[in-house]
């Protein structure tokens, strides 16, 4: 479906022109942006606080210091997170455990924000597979390898997944750096209890020798919808979108932007080989 739009779009480009225009946008009241994550991995729970800014403001986002960030769980844990650097808060005691629901409270001045997230039980990757794809269709002006991930969905309930493929770049000094990430959102509405295969990299292709970290991330329903809508709004240009753009629906209460995600992760490292 997207391909059709793409071809039609590229044909329209023939008779069209683009230019950068000046447009006056309202200056909306600044809102708190919360990026908060707890996972079953060894990374401690962390929260990053920033503020929204005017659309054409080219500065770095403002980091929010001095907030009181509290993490609690439904098994009785509670901890005030420590600000380790400007705007970054970490928990020291609480570790993400599958089956537990966590709540986050952020007190910023006289405003307070809350969110709950359930940390699901992890689902394991069955296998990954890569295969070559030529530059054959218009959308993919790229040749190279596609990577797919196969897993078996547990049948007992509705599951929500985020699949990340993170390419690791190795620079000239041999240091590893995070490269581009491809994300796929999927839920088992259509394949509950079955084995399913998803293509991970729709927008880019890999070269032989590339190192890719593949993650199968289990999340709860609200977090799934947040990332789903975030992805949808980021990938769209005005022309082919019909649903008017809107802020992604978040699990954060009281008008904050961002999310509080509880994730269980299964990871694999894939080195793309010649086939």
């Amino acid at each position: 479906m997207k391909k059709v739009s793409f071809i039609l779009l590229s044909l329209l480009v023939l008779v069209s022109c683009t230019k950068i225009i000046d447009i006056e946008l309202n200056s909306a009241t600044k809102r708190l942006v919360i990026e908060a994550k707890i996972s079953d991995q060894s990374v401690p729970p962390f929260v990053k606080l920033t503020r929204t800014m005017d659309y054409f403001n080219p500065e770095n986002p403002e980091l929010v210091s001095g907030a009181i960030v509290t993490l609690r769980s439904d098994v009785g844990e509670s901890e005030v997170m420590e600000e380790v650097s400007e705007g970054i808060y970490k928990a020291v005691q609480i570790k993400g455990t599958p089956g537990v629901t966590y709540s986050l409270t952020v007190q910023d001045g006289d405003q307070s924000y809350e969110a709950d997230a359930y940390l699901p039980f992890p689902v394991r990757i069955d296998t990954t597979h890569h295969f070559i794809r030529e530059n054959r269709t218009p959308r993919d002006n790229i040749s190279g390898y596609m990577l797919s991930l196969t897993f078996t969905d547990p049948a007992d309930k509705t599951n929500y997944y985020r699949l990340d493929a993170l390419k690791i770049n190795i620079d000239t000094t041999g240091r590893h750096q995070n490269g581009s990430t491809s994300t796929v959102m999927t839920s088992d509405v259509l394949y509950n209890g079955g084995q399913t295969t998803n293509m991970l990299n729709h927008d880019q292709a890999y070269e032989p020798g590339d190192t890719v970290i593949v993650k199968l991330i289990s999340i709860d329903e609200k977090v799934y919808h947040y990332f789903q809508q975030l992805k949808e709004s980021a990938g769209m240009r005005a022309m082919f979108s019909s649903s008017a753009p809107a802020n992604p629906e978040t699990n954060l209460q009281n008008g904050a932007m961002g999310y509080f995600a509880a994730e269980s992760v299964d990871m694999r490292m894939v080195i793309i080989s010649d086939q």
């Binding site: 022109c17 269709t137 802020n247």
Partner: protein, 734 residues
């Protein structure tokens, strides 16, 4: 001939013919002078002695050299003032052929956009909005068959080949009771019948399309046929482009219209009409997409006695979209569409010269195919949604009455009924659109029942020969809905029926107008005001997941709408210079509980001011010059009011739905029609046109994106289409 005037001079009374050219007058015995007239045609007068029933079949011929003639003004020239019809637009096909258009392809859907109350869906687009209604709230009938997707090539062309069209009427309100099924308008298009006297051919060759029409008698004066075909070859130019993505793309459309009619007896006439059109988009041999409409109508006109006219129709409509893609090691296919079978009976009873009754009904069986996606890719889960089926029925009765010399009244009732039936799985959803429950229905099992009365009325009160006041009220119900993936129509749009979740849409419209003609009916003017209330309107929820979600109903929210406005229209009908000016002042708003907590917000196509002026100047009998200028203020649109970063990714922050406006739009088009040869049976002519003559860069869309150089810098990028598009077409006729 549709809407020709039949006027009895002695009685100063008359009427107009129906859409089959039929009329019936009941007057006392005596000697009369009956005049038949129609704009652009030589009027015909017949002396009759009436002593009992009499059948008069008359043929009138077009005025060949219109400008040299003294224009005929007969009873009926002020029909726009006298009739009860309000909010009705009749297009003169001859006039349309002279108005400049993009690519030189004359197009009724673009011509109606130059009239008040009708808004274009965007640059070069054949999609239109009527009085704040959505694009899917327009009923488009081609010889009575509904056309589900009226555009070719992303909306840049309409599916209607002007060469095959005889008559176009657009009801913006006050629809007669015989029409139903859509909320905001009825576009009733009648195809040409073909020449009953002699064979003829006509055609045109243009830069991106050509057409050919053949017509002639089946048996002279007993029946005729017409076949018209059209093909674009826009993609021929793509081959020369260096970009392999584009030069390997094929993109074209073609369509055929055909119609035949035959007079079986004085009381029976049979019509057969059909349309078939396809768009094709391909990329090498890897991907092939084609889509289009086909419609077919079989009609039988029968006359019972002298005053009761019956038309029986069997109508078929189909729209489908097919996509196939072939990758290295797997392939994918997709199929979606809608298909209707429709049986229709319409009676017209000419009680006397002041009273006409119309009644009838129809029964439609709809099949909806929301989309089958299939692939042989390993592990692929087909995302097929069950087909949907529904019965759609209606009955109506209406009365057209003249009371005294001043009052004309058309009123009626329509009762419509809709019943979605199995087989299929139907769902209920939670607020996130996740399936709560699935119910399986067997074949023919009732899923839901909807129905209701639709009152219709319009009245005119004639103040004098030259001016009148008119008013109308209509309630319409709509049971099928278009779910679109884009703001302008695309082939991927799919129709869905009302179901356990989607309720029928309902509209109530009031309109009031003042009509005045000047200078012996040379000038027609009107002013109309309307108010429309809309229920059960459909919108996507915030952040709806459209492309990857087969259960589209889970992504919808339901609310209400309102629309009101003022329309001004001035038309100069005759003389060397003809043309019209239209102005619309309007507002269209919607409210949904789920969007901004139910606050009223402007609809995406809300446009405050919309102005156009069109002029045709006949320089001499062989040359005419035309120009049109369009100006409108920007549509409502949602722009970001701030930004932030999540996981280092730029995210736009929005504050309210459609709180901004697109930049204003204006454009000038010019045209020149030149007849180079004109003999008895042969005519050759050229049409030159320039679209967007002063190269205005109108905003088609505005995107908010990150600068490639610095991710912290965000910019607004405007996309414009069609700067100057010159075109030339050669037309011939023999």
């Amino acid at each position: 001939m549709i809407s020709a005037t039949v006027y009895v001079e002695e009685l100063e009374a008359g009427l107009v013919t129906n859409q089959y050219g039929f009329y019936s007058l009941t007057i006392p015995d005596g000697q009369y002078t009956v005049r038949y007239s129609f704009v652009g045609y030589r009027s015909h007068t017949e002396q009759i002695v009436l002593n009992g029933h009499k059948q008069l079949n008359v043929e009138i011929s077009p005025l060949v050299e219109q400008i040299d003639q003294v224009t005929i003004r007969a009873g009926g020239q002020n029909r726009n003032v006298k009739s009860a019809e309000i909010s009705l637009i009749k297009l003169d096909m001859k006039e349309i052929s002279q108005v400049p258009v993009i690519f030189g392809e004359k197009d009724i859907l673009k011509s109606i956009q130059l009239l008040p109350g009708v808004k274009s869906a965007g640059e070069g687009n054949s999609g239109y909005y009527v009085r704040g209604g959505n694009a899917d709230q327009n009923l488009i009938l081609l010889d009575e068959a509904p056309v589900y997707n009226a555009s070719h090539l992303m909306g840049f062309f309409s599916v209607f080949n002007s060469n095959a069209i005889k008559d176009v009427q657009l009801y913006k309100g006050g629809m007669p009771a015989k029409y139903g099924g859509r909320l905001s308008s009825v576009l009733d298009i009648t195809m040409n019948d073909g020449n009953t006297k002699q064979f003829g051919a006509s055609g045109g060759i243009g830069l991106i399309s050509s057409n050919l029409t053949l017509e002639g008698p089946i048996i002279k004066d007993q029946g005729s046929f017409i076949v018209s075909g059209r093909r674009t070859y826009a993609d021929a130019f793509l081959k020369f482009l260096p970009d392999s993505t584009i030069s390997n793309t094929s993109l074209y459309f073609y369509d055929f219209n055909l119609k035949a009619n035959y007079r079986v007896s004085d009381k029976d006439r049979i019509y057969l009409s059909g349309y078939f059109g396809r768009d094709v988009l391909g990329f090498k041999d890897l991907m092939n997409i084609d889509w289009g409409n086909s419609t077919g109508t079989i009609r039988w006109n029968h006359l019972f006695g002298n005053r009761l006219f019956l038309n029986s129709s069997f109508i078929y409509s189909n729209y489908d979209f097919k996509q196939g893609a072939d990758f290295n090691d797997f392939s994918m296919s997709m199929l979606s569409g809608i298909e209707d079978y429709n049986l229709k009976e319409d009676f017209q009873f000419y009680f006397d010269s002041n009273n006409t009754f119309k009644w009838g009904g129809n029964l439609i069986y709809h099949s909806f195919m929301p989309g089958h996606v299939d692939s042989d890719f390993e592990g692929f889960i087909g995302t097929s949604v069950d087909d949907r089926y529904a019965w759609d029925a209606a009955v109506y009765l209406s009365h057209e009455s003249k009371i005294g010399s001043r009052l004309q009244l058309n009123y009626g009732l329509r009762y419509s009924y809709f019943q979605p039936v199995g087989p299929g799985d139907y769902y209920t959803f939670d607020t996130y659109g996740i399936v709560l429950d699935t119910i399986n229905y067997q074949k023919g099992e009732t899923i839901a029942q909807y129905g209701g009365i639709e009152p219709r009325a319009s009245v005119s009160f004639v103040l004098s020969e030259h001016n009148s006041i008119k008013a109308s009220y209509n309630r319409n119900r709509q049971y099928v809905h278009l779910i679109s993936n884009a703001t302008s129509g695309t082939p991927l749009d799919s129709w869905i029926p009302s179901s356990n979740i989607v309720q029928p849409e309902v509209a109530d419209q009031f309109a009031l107008g003042y009509f005045r003609n000047f200078d012996n009916n040379t000038w027609e003017t009107s002013i109309e005001a309307y108010y429309k209330n809309l229920q059960n309107q459909i919108e996507y929820k915030n952040g709806a997941d459209l492309l990857s979600n087969p259960l589209i109903e889970s992504q919808l929210v339901f609310g209400e709408g309102r629309s009101y406005g003022l329309e001004l229209y001035v038309k100069k009908r005759t003389g060397k210079l003809t043309g019209w000016v239209s102005y619309t002042l309007s507002r269209t708003e919607k409210s949904f509980d789920e969007i901004d907590n139910g606050a009223w917000f402007p609809a995406r196509h809300d446009r405050t001011h919309d102005f156009s002026i069109t002029g045709i100047y006949q320089i001499n009998p062989k040359m005419s010059f035309s120009a049109s200028w369009v100006y409108y203020t920007g549509d409502a649109v949602t722009f970001p009011s701030g930004k932030y970063f999540v996981d280092s990714q730029l995210v736009n922050m929005y504050t309210e739905r459609n709180g901004y406006r697109m930049p204003e739009y204006h454009r000038l088009d010019l045209g020149l029609n030149l007849i180079t040869k004109k003999r008895d049976r042969y005519e050759s002519s050229w049409n030159f046109s320039i679209y967007n003559a002063y190269a205005r860069e109108n905003a088609y869309s505005i995107s908010f994106i990150q600068s490639e150089d610095d991710p912290n810098v965000t910019i607004a990028e405007q996309l414009s289409l069609f700067k100057i598009v010159p075109s030339v077409t050669w037309n011939f006729k023999f």
